[in-house]
Structure formats: C-alpha cells, structure tokens
Symmetry: C2
Subunit: 167 residues, 2 copies
Amino acid sequence: MRPYSTYDSDTCSIARTLALIGDRWTLLVLRDVANGVRRFDEIAGHLGIARNILSRRLAGLAQAGLIERTAYREPGARERHEYRLSGPGRELVPILLAFMQWGDRNLAGPEGPPALVRHAGCGAPIRVSLTCDQGHELGERPRVWLEPGPGSRMRPGATPEGHALIG
Amino acid sequence: MRPYSTYDSDTCSIARTLALIGDRWTLLVLRDVANGVRRFDEIAGHLGIARNILSRRLAGLAQAGLIERTAYREPGARERHEYRLSGPGRELVPILLAFMQWGDRNLAGPEGPPALVRHAGCGAPIRVSLTCDQGHELGERPRVWLEPGPGSRMRPGATPEGHALIG
DNA sequence: CATACTAAGTTGCATATCGAAACCTAGATA
DNA sequence: TATCTAGGTTTCGATATGCAACTTAGTATG
C-alpha cells in the first residue's frame, strides 16, 4: 500500500472539518452555544473573544449551516437574536466530548475534571468510545488501520510507488 | 443550576486541550505522524506547512509529551530524527476520528469518504460512539447533560445567581 | 419630547502570528 | 575540497487577532 503522504492532504475529512471549525475560537463558540450560551454579548463576555472576531465566527458558522441565528422577542422587549446548534452542528458534539475526555484524563488537576457529562435520558456518565462493526470496543490507545476510500485522491506530483502504510 | 457562562471558560477541558492542539496545523501534524509520516521534510511536503511553523509545532508537541522525537540511523547513513505518537498522543486518536467521521458524513462528495478506518485486529470498520454507563448508545445527535465537576471554577466576577442549565 | 440605555454588532488601528524563501549546519559522499 | 541532503533557523512581508471607539435601533426614563 502507498504511504499516506502520497494522498492529498486537503482531501482528508479531518482537513476539511478543520477548515471549517479549526481555528482558535470556533470550537469554544460551539461549546458555549451547545451549552445554552446563546446571545452575542454573553458569548463574548464568557469567552473573552474580541467582538469583531466573534461576529465573523458566528456569521461563518451560520453560513456553514452549523448554527442557526433566530430572532426572538421577550414580552415588552425588543427583538433580539440567539444562536443554536443546527442538526449538523449537533453532530459535532462527539468532537467536543472527545476533546473534553482527553483533557479530563490528561490535563485535569488533582481535584478532578471541571465538568461531567451525563446522558440526558438516564443520567449516567457518558464516554466517547471507538467500536468496530464486529462489536469490539477499542481502548483508550486504539490501534487502527487506515486505507484509501472511494473519495481518495493522489497528491499532485506524488511518486506512484511506495511501501507500507501503518495504522 | 447556574448557567454555563458563570463558570470559567479556560478551566474547561475542551479549552485546555485546544490550548495544546487547537491551531490550524497541529491536528494535521498529529494525523500525519499517526499515519506514519514521521520525518520533517516528509511532513512539510505533505501538509504544505511552512517549515518554521512545523518546527515550532513539533517542538511544542514534543514538549507537551504528545510525540517523541527519536534519533535513528540507517546503515551507512547519518543519524536522523523521526517523530512518533507517545502514549498520551495515541489517546488523541478518538479526536482525530471524530473529526474524520463528521467530515465523512457532512463534507464528503458523492464518491464517498476519502479514507476508511478499520480495526487493526479484525479489519472491521470503526465508528466513534457515545455510550453511557448504563449501556445506552447515544445517536449521531446526542442529547447530553452537563454539570459542574469537582474541578470546576466560577468565572471571576460572575454573578452568583442563575437559572437553568441545558444539555 | 429629549435623553439615556442596551444588545448586537462594525470600523480603525496596533500587535501578534503565519508563510515564503533564503540561509545555516553537520554528517555522508565524490 | 567541494557537494548533497535532512532538518532545521532567520528575515521580512502578509494575515489574523485584539482593543477600543463608534453605530444602530428599539425601549425605558424624566
């Protein structure tokens, strides 16, 4: 099998997703929106993000269809806007939780993790795990095998020969 | 329960992890290293990253203990270096796969995903899933509940009162 | 009615980070 | 002695980010 480096780096789903949400703030904005911090000033105050940057990020996320900007009006107040996760946006939750789980395990102090996630249905703690279609559960340091998929593309200018690919 | 925004944003495990690997390149560097692209020039060529930035990222990742820089020498060649994931680094694989899965589902073209991941043991495709301790499997758009953990911290200057927290 | 207040941005400018390309270094080879 | 190559480092211009002031439109206040 050809080495991974012969495949185009930008075609990768990781690269594509990072192009959308892979800057210093976007994932934190999504975290806040997911946690019910929905209004502009509230997000800005909580994150400490510059307002112009937040403005750009929210616009970008809305355009990408990850959040929805909706108007609402409380009685006796003027119309305001709030941001909520869209369907595809809610599918990002596993990414957020994967980050959280790694941080809990590797960066938390002796007091323990700063937050706990529970299943909204039953209240039990949640874990991110990798499972294969045969039902095997892979541990915390999984050994996986990567192979080119139908949408793979060669890197322009890559030499066509190569040796083994790992996992 | 207090709203999420009354808790310190930087204490969060997501924020802490992002501070380590949350820039435009680091996750791609880790992806390449995980996939056997181990040498400086090879990574630089594959990613199209500026060499000075790659140099900084590799140094940072090594200092953080996520990758290991080891010298090796092929017979009749001079000593060289290569980078490999460390133990904690391998624990980042679920993050990479969560990104990949989201991109496969939301950004792939009609041809299909650019790559497939398989269990190194049995060869079956792998999925990232959320499961709770009672054995429930949460779907693609999970509903979860967040609550403060033992390591939580109030945001300096946050008002002590607040209403409901979502999930 | 005039004034002030607030949420939700926008604008202008200073600073920090990034990228491209040239340069550097040390060991192997000719 | 000169050359090649992997693995960087330096320099400098281009981008991105942060900060603070300004804008806008409804709402409340005197």
